[in-house]
């Protein structure tokens, strides 16, 4: 990583879920850990997210999902990233993700799966240790 480089993170809420407390707290915590954070607000379609990734070129995308739509939306996001040749971005999903869904999501290249009650420092460490570039 060249000198002066900062970790750039996109925090997104895909789908219609409006529960943004966790996403906002996380965004602030990552900022306080010295990262540059873009929070894209709620109600993002997979296309919104991928377009933002293309333009902002973040190191990390963190998806916060509590509505149960993860199995439907995450693979679509991963697929669209791939279509656009994006393979060096760490994509993590957290929120309410049942254990039994993890293998399916892992197969699609997602990581993280931090649930309610996870300490922020755990997530910060996770980001730092899993960067793809």
């Amino acid at each position: 990583m060249p000198e002066g480089r900062k970790i750039k993170v996109l925090v997104c809420k895909p789908g219609l879920d409006g529960h943004d407390r966790g996403a906002k707290v996380l965004a602030r915590a990552l900022r306080d850990a010295g990262m540059e954070v873009i929070y894209t607000g709620i109600h993002n379609t997979p296309e919104d997210i991928v377009n933002t990734v293309i333009q902002e070129d973040p190191d990390v995308v963190m998806l916060s999902m509590l509505s149960g739509a993860h199995n439907a939306l995450c693979p679509v996001i991963m697929e669209k990233l791939k279509e656009n040749g994006i393979n060096d971005v760490l994509v993590a999903v957290g929120g309410i993700i049942p254990d039994e869904d993890k293998p399916f999501l892992e197969k699609h290249g997602l990581k993280g799966f931090h649930g309610p009650g996870t300490e922020l420092k755990t997530i910060i460490e996770f980001v730092k240790n899993n960067l793809k570039r």
């Binding site: 879920d17 906002k24 739509a69 199995n71 309410i96 309610p116």
Partner: protein, 544 residues
């Protein structure tokens, strides 16, 4: 107030666990509460008998000695048929009212066939598109006998219309219907985020429902002014109290501006609060809420009827307090939270299921949640006397303190020019974001202990069986909507929607037009889109 010698009460004696004790609103709690802390309390002016102004001791004279609170478990998932079965299950097990949770696409007025609904159908609540779904949802449930609460805001007027028409098809008239629509849009901008239109047209729709119900659906609660979601978004108890009541006052002002008499509509306003972990803080919050509402309704808005000053509320235990780690511990948390609501005099209660940090409640978890309420009601003895904590130096002091801090917030909101300008200046959003970040930091630093999470924790694999929503449900809902669209009288519907649009451009009450459209099997999405053409949509700033 006369000076109190705090040396006895505030200063820690040797050997205390912490330097400072603070509740979830960051109010410092003293070592001891003494008569002098409430020496200015006037029994008649500040407390009053239960059922009498200022209602601090309770909304009704006999409270639970007369009738227990309504045990109303929020439920809804999958399609109308599945939820209908769950309702029947709950009613068979002694639940006394229905509470509908809607699917996110319904909440936003988006049709199941819209690509934005992908993956969301039936996940967080029951998926409703048209009258057909609503008829299925209440199939075999007599709407003249039951009271139904519907958690719906942006499209609240449409769901009310659907309910009225569903009852009509069961042979009941609107004046027989009992229930609540949440219909509280202000807290959506503040916290919950399921807005559709900008604030001004949203307020118009709300006043339309108030006006309509006052005339035709007199037993209906027109708004459930909600602090629940404000708290879930991370606010403190004081913020929940202050922002919710401020929203309430804003609705009163809007309806009075329409020319309605405060005593005609205010009795049909109700509230919805959260119950979090700090028992006494929550009790004080409910007591303060009743007193503040009564005082403002009487003194500021000139209400004459006691009914208009009487704050009634539903409570739900704090979803945000549930942990995914050792989920069984949540049963204990919910018990304490439910107890706080009862000690605070709630009119109805939803107790969360212990598995909700993981998924939608399974049948077993939902049953335990209901049983928790029943144990509080029938075994604990807390329902045997009215307002049992009154007169406690601590509880009365804390009630005063909550009122005082809420009043300070009202001042600040007033400085913005009211609730809507304060929303546009992101005042509430910033206050809540700061409070929730602070709370999280306190947990990280172990200033606050969450059992099984940041202390006493053993990482063990989760063995809770989870309720899964079949992805097929979404596909079915799409198919069924497509079928309805083919079968209905589309000519007639088009006409009705055009009439609705015309009316929206003017100032007429929109309820009759919405009811007409619903009868023709318009989808919620179609009605919302018609209104969007006139009203536009709302965009939030990013505040965090």
């Amino acid at each position: 107030m006369t000076e109190i010698d705090e040396s006895k009460t505030l200063k820690p004696t040797k050997g205390e666990r912490k330097e400072k004790f603070r509740n979830l609103s960051n109010i410092e709690i003293k070592r001891l509460y003494m008569p002098e802390h409430i020496q200015d309390l006037n029994y008649v002016m500040d407390l009053g008998e239960p059922g009498q102004y200022p209602f601090t001791r309770g909304a009704y004279k006999n409270m639970y000695r007369g009738r227990l609170w309504t045990m109303r478990q929020f439920a809804g998932f999958g399609n109308a048929e599945q939820t209908n079965q769950r309702y029947k299950f709950l009613l068979e097990h002694g639940q006394t009212g229905l509470s509908v949770a809607f699917s996110l696409h319904t909440i936003y007025g988006i049709e199941a066939v819209d690509e934005k609904a992908l993956g969301e159908i039936g996940k967080e609540g029951v998926s409703i598109d048209t009258l057909k779904d609503m008829e299925t949802l209440f199939d075999g449930i007599d709407l003249s006998k039951i009271s139904t609460s519907m958690t719906i805001n942006g499209p609240a007027s449409i769901l009310l219309a659907l309910y009225i028409v569903t009852a009509e098809r069961q042979g009941h008239t609107p004046d027989q219907l009992r229930g609540t629509i949440q219909n509280d849009i202000l807290k959506e901008y503040i916290a919950q985020k399921s807005w559709i239109f900008p604030p001004e047209p949203s307020m118009r729709l709300i006043v339309d429902t108030i006006e309509y119900c006052t005339k035709y659906v007199p037993q209906w609660y027109t708004i459930s002014i909600s602090g629940y979601h404000i708290r879930e978004a991370g606010s403190t108890a004081v913020q929940e109290l202050a922002f919710t009541l401020a929203d309430g006052f804003a609705y009163v002002e809007a309806a009075m501006e329409r020319g309605l008499d405060v005593d005609d509509f205010a009795p049909r306003l109700s509230f919805f609060f959260n119950s979090h972990n700090n028992l006494f803080e929550e009790v004080a919050k409910y007591r303060a809420a009743r007193r503040i509402w009564a005082r403002h309704m009487k003194n500021k808005y000139g209400a004459k009827k006691a009914e208009s000053m009487r704050l009634r509320f539903h409570t739900q235990t704090a979803g945000v307090s549930l942990t995914a780690q050792e989920p069984e511990n949540n049963i204990v948390r919910v018990t304490l939270q439910g107890l706080a609501a009862v000690l605070g005099g709630t009119q109805s209660l939803h107790t969360n299921s212990f598995d909700e940090a993981l998924c939608l409640p399974t049948e077993k978890a939902a049953k335990i949640a209901l049983r928790t309420q029943q144990i509080i009601a029938h075994e604990s003895g807390v329902a045997d006397t009215v307002d049992p904590l009154a007169g406690s130096y601590y509880v009365e002091w804390l009630t005063n303190k909550m009122e005082e801090e809420a009043e300070a917030y009202f001042q600040r909101i007033e400085e913005f020019g009211g609730v809507i300008p304060a929303i546009k200046a992101n005042f509430f959003q910033k206050e809540i974001a700061n409070a929730s970040y602070k709370y999280q930091k306190e947990i990280e630093s172990k200033e606050r202990i969450i059992v099984g999470v940041n202390d006493f924790s053993q990482r063990e694999p989760c063995s809770t069986p989870l309720l899964k929503i079949d992805e097929e449900i979404g596909k079915q809902q799409v198919k069924s909507l497509e079928k309805i669209k083919q079968e209905r009288n589309n000519e007639m519907l088009k006409e009705k929607l055009e009439k609705l649009k015309k009316a929206a451009e003017g100032t007429e009450n929109l309820m009759p037009f919405i009811i007409d459209a619903v009868r023709e099997y318009a989808s919620i999405g179609e009605i919302i889109n018609t209104l969007k053409d006139v009203f536009g949509t709302y965009q939030e700033d990013s505040i965090y």
